[in-house]
């Protein structure tokens, strides 16, 4: 088996091979749950746990999985992790689980999770797979938090629910931007992030 460069496994998904901005996966939830930082943060954490643990478990099972039902087995494992996360959130972070509503359940369909299992966990040992899953979840979470930061700041004038833009600004005529709250603006923000990344990382640009 080839040697694994742990540094690359951990760092590549954060920036150079970010699942959201480079592979453009997991867009749906990153538009839906980024209105507030708190929700985005919990969502990011949930995805990190799900990608990490399901890659880990599938990697342990990888030599025993019948090839014909490989995808189904992966799906069962991912679904198990997602439901566990959902149940824990419902018990210990009820209000956040209400704001995230269906999107926690929809992590099952997040392409990043299945993508990493297929591309990495099936061919690598458990520990590297766990790290790869965690790192990809973190790459997704990072984008989520960056988008949510701007959306909450410009859309509600708060960060994590704390008022950042002082009342005197509002008295002077400043208004929160209602458009930023809506999903289309999240897509525009995401586009801007992709733009910035590609202008830094020239090798991503298509000729």
């Amino acid at each position: 088996m080839k040697d694994i460069n742990y540094k690359e496994v951990l760092l590549k998904p954060i920036f150079k091979g970010n699942p959201v901005t480079v592979l453009v996966l997991g867009i749906c939830s990153s538009l839906a749950v980024t209105v507030q930082l708190k929700g985005a943060f919990v969502m990011a954490l949930s995805v990190i746990i799900v990608t990490g643990l399901s890659s880990f478990v599938v990697s342990i099972l990888r030599n025993s999985i019948p090839n014909r039902i490989r995808i189904i087995v992966q799906l069962v494992v991912v679904a198990l992790m997602v439901i566990l996360v959902d149940q824990v959130l419902k018990a210990y972070a009820y209000s956040i689980s209400k704001t995230l509503s269906v999107y926690v359940g929809l992590i099952i369909t997040n392409c990043i999770v299945m993508g990493r299992i297929e591309a990495f966990a099936l061919g690598n040992k458990p520990i590297p797979s766990l790290l790869d899953g965690l790192a990809n979840g973190a790459g997704y979470g990072l984008i989520l938090i960056v988008v949510a930061f701007f959306r909450e700041l410009l859309g509600s004038g708060t960060l994590f629910g704390f008022r950042i833009i002082p009342q005197s600004f509002y008295d002077a005529g400043y208004m929160d931007n209602g458009l930023v709250i809506l999903p289309p603006m999240a897509l525009i923000l995401l586009g801007l992030i992709v733009w910035i990344q590609r202008s830094i990382q020239k090798d991503l640009q298509e000729k």
Binding site: N63, P66, N67, I69, V76, V77, S101, V102
Partner: protein, 279 residues
């Protein structure tokens, strides 16, 4: 080992699925109490929020100790039947907040099913029989000296149940607050019934004596006392809400009329015995 054989595949998938099911069942059971507690707390918050809208000085936000506020403000909580007779008391948690009893949405659904049966009842006798079996929850709050009665309502929305809590003033008609919730209405459309601009539009309206008791309709209803503007793009949810309110208000009416008469008599008596307190 041949991992591609039929027998192996079948056994593998069976074992995997049973194992996963066992894990999930175990986790669901161990977290159940905590989850139910959250749901109960949410119901209490909803009931209290509806009642608190009656007073601009009372506000509820994330930092409010809802349980304490609830036990401080509630003066009675009980069930009534369809004829207005007070039945069992609910534990208000005055001694221990953990004992607070509030009806869950499945309790509301049970009552809704009985109401539907009453609507379909063929003859007077079976109707009267069913009316007695109703257990409609009533919450009476004392908010800064004013009596506020909260009645729940329930209905079938577009994708699932919708329910709410309507706070009425001591005349049993004027709406002083309302709040709604839903299981899974369309976000951005039907889900707006649970959001602020919509439920706040109920405040200051009143349940009418005629038919319908209350309407949730599209159009301009600024002057009309028993009508609020429906949500654009959520026709079925809005209509279902209207139907739910009408149906439930009908069966609360006997109790509300009785308590309104009692409140009026009480007020008259107070005015007669100590007229200076009016000032």
């Amino acid at each position: 080992m041949n991992t591609n054989g039929n027998t192996y595949t079948v056994i593998y998938s069976t074992v995997l699925v049973i194992l996963v099911a066992a894990i999930l069942a175990f986790v669901a059971m161990s977290l159940q109490d905590k989850q139910n507690e959250n749901i109960k707390l949410e119901t209490i918050t909803k009931v209290l929020t509806a009642a608190a809208q009656s007073d601009d000085n009372v506000s509820i936000d994330e930092t409010t100790d809802v349980l304490k506020m609830y036990t401080d403000m509630i003066s009675a909580a009980f069930y009534v039947d369809g004829e207005g007779t007070v039945k069992d008391q609910m534990n208000m948690g005055k001694n221990n907040v953990k004992d607070i009893v509030v009806p869950s949405t499945s309790d509301l659904k049970k009552q809704n099913d009985i109401i539907k049966k009453i609507e379909d009842a063929k003859d007077e006798a079976s109707r009267a029989e069913l009316l007695k079996t109703l257990d409609l929850p009533v919450f009476v709050f004392n908010i800064n000296g004013k009596t506020v009665t909260v009645m729940p309502c329930y209905g079938a929305g577009l994708w699932g149940p919708i329910w709410g809590y309507i706070a009425l003033a001591d005349d049993g008609k004027t709406i002083v607050g309302a709040i709604f919730d839903h299981k899974g209405e369309t976000p951005g459309l039907g889900a707006k019934i649970a959001e602020a601009p919509f439920y706040l539009s109920f405040k200051g309206k009143a349940l009418s004596d005629g038919e319908p008791v209350f309407a949730v309709e599209k159009g301009k209803h600024e002057g009309e006392p028993s009508c609020v503007d429906a949500i654009s793009g959520a026709t079925i949810t809005s209509r279902a809400l209207g139907i739910g309110i009408n149906l439930w208000a009908k069966y609360y009416r006997p109790y509300l009329n009785a308590s309104a008469a009692e409140n009026a008599a009480q007020a008259a008596e107070d005015a007669a015995t100590c007229p200076e307190s009016v000032n």
